[in-house]
C-alpha cells in the first residue's frame, strides 16, 4: 500500500476495507462509467454533435435545467423559511412537520409523480381551483417545476437546519447591543452565516432536479419542444433502439452534473476554509 502513502496506524483492516471499497466502486460505478466513455468515443464527433444539437434535444436540456433552477430557487426561499421556523419557533406538531420534510426522500418518485398529477390535473383537488384562474399546472412546464420543487425541498432544509441550530445566540445579542434592529441582525449577521449552507443545499436540490425522471414524466405531459425533459429523451431514444443517441444526451447530462458536483465540493471547501480554525 506504499502507493497510497498511508501513514502509520495501529488499527488493522485497512487493506480489507480499502480493497472491498475499491472493488465494489470499480464494479458498480467505474466500470459502467468507463463503458459509457468508450461508447461515446466510438460514436465520433459528427454523430455526437448531430444528436446533441438537435432542436428537440436542446429544448429538453434547456427545459430540464431551467425548470430545475426555478424549483431550486423556490426551495431556497421556502426551505430556508421552513428550517428557520423549525429551529426557532415553538410550534404545534413540530416533530411531525420535521419528519414530513423527509417525505420526498422516502416516497418513491413514481408515487409522487402520479399523486401530484392527480392533484394538479384540471379536475384534481388543487387543479380545480387553479383552472378557473387560467393556471394550468399538470401537463405544462409549470407542472415540472411543481414536481421538482417537491423532490428538492429536503436538500435545502436539511443542510440549513444544522447551521441554524448551531448559530450562537450571542452573535444576535451582540448585534442587538450594537444598535442593530432585528431586520439588520437577520440580514447582516444571520443570513451571511447561513449562506454557504444555503448555497450548498440549493445546488444539491438543483443537481437532483436536473436528472429527475420518475416524478416528472407523469405531470409533464411530455409534449415535444414544450414539456419534454432530457431524461425522457434518453428513454425514448432507447425505446427506438438508438443507443448512440441516448448515450450522447446522457454524456451531456453527466458532464453538467459533474461540473455541479465539483462546484458543490469547492463551495464546501471554500466555506470550511473561511470558517476554519475556530475556537
Amino acid at each position: 500500500m506504499s502507493l497510497l502513502n498511508r501513514s502509520y496506524s495501529v488499527l488493522p483492516g485497512f487493506r480489507l476495507g480499502f480493497g472491498i471499497s475499491l472493488a465494489w466502486l470499480g464494479l458498480i460505478v467505474l466500470l459502467p462509467l468507463a463503458m459509457m466513455i468508450v461508447a461515446t468515443s466510438r460514436m465520433g464527433w459528427p454523430a455526437f454533435l448531430g444528436t446533441v444539437l438537435d432542436e428537440r434535444v436542446l429544448a429538453s436540456l434547456r427545459l430540464s435545467f431551467v425548470a430545475a433552477a426555478i424549483a431550486a430557487a423556490i426551495n431556497a426561499v421556502f426551505g430556508l423559511l421552513l428550517a428557520w421556523v423549525l429551529v426557532r419557533y415553538r410550534l404545534f406538531g413540530k416533530r411531525f412537520i420535521d419528519a414530513m420534510v423527509d417525505l420526498p426522500f422516502a416516497l418513491p418518485t413514481s408515487v409522487a409523480g402520479i399523486a401530484l398529477t392527480t392533484l394538479y390535473a384540471p379536475n384534481g383537488l388543487v387543479g380545480q381551483y387553479l383552472a378557473p384562474l387560467g393556471i394550468k399546472v399538470a401537463y405544462t412546464p409549470l407542472g415540472i417545476v411543481v414536481a421538482l420543487t417537491f423532490i428538492g425541498l429536503p436538500f435545502v432544509v436539511r443542510t440549513v437546519q444544522p447551521v441554524l441550530q448551531e448559530l450562537e445566540r450571542e452573535l444576535e445579542e451582540a448585534a442587538s447591543c450594537l444598535g442593530a434592529n432585528r431586520w439588520q441582525t437577520v440580514r447582516r449577521v444571520i443570513f451571511p452565516t447561513v449562506l454557504p449552507a444555503l448555497i450548498t443545499g440549493t445546488t444539491l436540490a438543483f443537481a437532483r432536479a436536473t436528472g429527475e425522471y420518475g416524478s416528472v414524466i407523469f405531470i409533464a405531459g411530455n409534449i415535444p419542444l414544450v414539456s419534454e425533459i432530457a431524461p425522457l429523451i434518453i428513454v425514448s431514444k432507447l425505446d427506438q433502439y438508438d443507443q448512440n443517441g441516448a448515450t450522447a444526451v446522457a454524456v451531456v447530462m453527466l458532464l453538467i452534473s459533474f461540473a455541479l458536483l465539483l462546484l458543490i465540493n469547492s463551495l464546501q471547501w471554500w466555506s470550511a476554509r473561511r470558517n476554519g480554525a475556530q475556537r
Binding site: 500500500m1 497510497l4 502513502n5 498511508r6 496506524s9 495501529v10 488499527l11 483492516g13 485497512f14 480489507l16 476495507g17 480499502f18 472491498i20 471499497s21 465494489w24 466502486l25 458498480i28 460505478v29 467505474l30 459502467p32 463503458m35 459509457m36 421556502f78 421552513l82 428557520w84 421556523v85 423549525l86 419557533y89 412537520i97 420535521d98 419528519a99 420534510v101 423527509d102 417525505l103 422516502a106 416516497l107 418513491p108 418518485t109 413514481s110 408515487v111 392527480t118 392533484l119 383537488l125 388543487v126 417537491f150 425541498l153 445579542e173 441582525t185 436528472g211 425522471y213 420518475g214 407523469f218 431524461p231 428513454v235 432507447l238 443507443q243 446522457a250 453527466l254 459533474f258 458536483l261
Partner: protein, 295 residues
C-alpha cells in the same frame, strides 16, 4: 413562543406569518400529495383496493421489489462499512477522490445510470454478447434490475457512516487494542455498537430508495408484466392504462413504506438526541464536581 421582549426574536406578526407560510407550504406540497395517494387508492372501496393488490401481476411486482432490495441493501451495507472503515480510520493519498467517487451515483441521473448498464451488458456490448452466448441475461432481467438498484443506492450507508465515525475518532478502538482485543473483536465490540444507529439510519434510507427506484430500473427492466416489473414500474403501467385504483393501490404500499421509513428515522433521531443529552448531562455533572473539588 418566546418572550416578545427578547433581543433575539421577531415581532409577533412576523413570527405568525412565517409559521403560517411554512405550514401552508408543508401542507400543500407534502401532506396533501401523500394523503391523496390513500384517498385515490380507496376511492372505489376496500374490496377493489385489495383485489388490485392481490392480482398476480401486482404480487409478482411486490415479490421482485422485495427480492432486489434484499440483495442490494446487504451488498451496499458491507461496502458502506468497509469504505467507512478505510476512510474514517486511515490517512492515505487519494482519500478525497475516493470520497467523491462514492458520492457520484447521487449526482448521476437515474436514467443515465440505467443507460450505463444497458451499454455495459446490452446485446451490443462485448460483455453482453459473451453473457448471452452462455445463456445469461442481465438487461431486461432481474440481474439488471438488481445492478441498477445497487448503483442508485450505492452511497447511502457509507455517507451516513463516514462523518459519524470521523467525529467519533479512533480512540476507543485503540484502547480496545491496547487492552488486548483482536482487530475483529474491537470492530465487533467497539466500532459497531458505536455506530449502530447511524448504520440503521443508512440502511432504512438505502432500503426506501431501493424499493422505490424508478428511473434506473425502468431503463433496464424491459417492462415485462409479471416478470421484470417492480412495484414502481407496475404503478406506471397501471396509471398509463387509466387503471387509477390499481395504480394508487400499488402506490399506497410504497407510500406506507415511506411512512414507515420516516417513523423509524424519527425514532432513531429521537433516541440519538436523548443519548446525546444524557451524555452531555453526565459530562456537565462531572465538570461541576471537578470544579467543586478545585475550589
Amino acid at each position: 413562543m418566546s418572550d416578545s421582549y427578547s433581543a433575539t426574536a421577531e415581532a409577533r406578526w412576523v413570527r405568525w406569518s412565517l409559521c403560517g407560510v411554512a405550514l401552508a407550504f408543508v401542507f400543500l406540497f407534502l401532506l396533501i400529495p401523500l394523503l391523496s395517494v390513500f384517498q385515490q387508492a380507496l376511492s372505489h372501496g376496500v374490496g377493489l383496493y385489495l383485489a388490485a393488490l392481490t392480482e398476480p401481476d401486482a404480487r409478482a411486482a411486490i415479490g421482485l421489489t422485495v427480492r432486489s432490495a434484499a440483495i442490494a441493501v446487504p451488498l451496499n451495507l458491507v461496502f458502506g462499512i468497509a469504505a467507512a472503515w478505510a476512510i474514517a480510520r486511515f490517512e492515505f493519498r487519494g482519500k478525497t477522490l475516493l470520497t467523491t467517487l462514492i458520492d457520484l451515483p447521487f449526482s448521476v441521473s437515474p436514467v443515465v445510470a440505467g443507460l450505463m448498464f444497458v451499454l455495459l451488458f446490452g446485446v451490443n456490448s462485448p460483455v453482453g454478447a459473451f453473457l448471452a452466448a452462455h445463456g445469461m441475461k442481465v438487461i431486461f432481467a432481474e440481474p439488471g434490475i438488481v445492478l441498477a438498484t445497487v448503483f442508485v443506492t450505492f452511497p447511502f450507508v457509507a455517507r451516513e457512516l463516514i462523518p459519524l465515525m470521523q467525529s467519533q475518532g479512533a480512540d476507543e478502538e485503540q484502547a480496545a487494542l491496547v487492552l488486548g482485543a483482536s482487530g475483529w473483536k474491537s470492530f465487533v465490540r467497539v466500532t459497531l455498537p458505536n455506530v449502530k444507529w447511524g448504520l440503521l439510519y443508512g440502511v432504512i434510507l438505502c432500503n426506501a430508495r431501493a424499493m422505490g427506484e424508478f428511473g434506473a430500473v425502468s431503463v433496464v427492466s424491459g417492462h415485462i408484466r409479471g416478470e421484470t416489473n417492480t412495484i414502481p414500474l407496475h404503478v406506471e403501467i397501471l396509471y398509463n392504462e387509466y387503471n387509477f385504483v390499481g395504480a394508487f393501490a400499488c402506490a399506497s404500499i410504497l407510500a406506507l413504506l415511506a411512512l414507515l421509513t420516516l417513523v423509524i428515522k424519527s425514532l432513531i433521531e429521537w433516541r440519538q438526541a436523548r443519548e446525546q443529552n444524557q451524555a452531555s448531562g453526565r459530562v456537565q455533572l462531572a465538570r461541576v464536581r471537578r470544579a467543586g473539588e478545585h475550589a
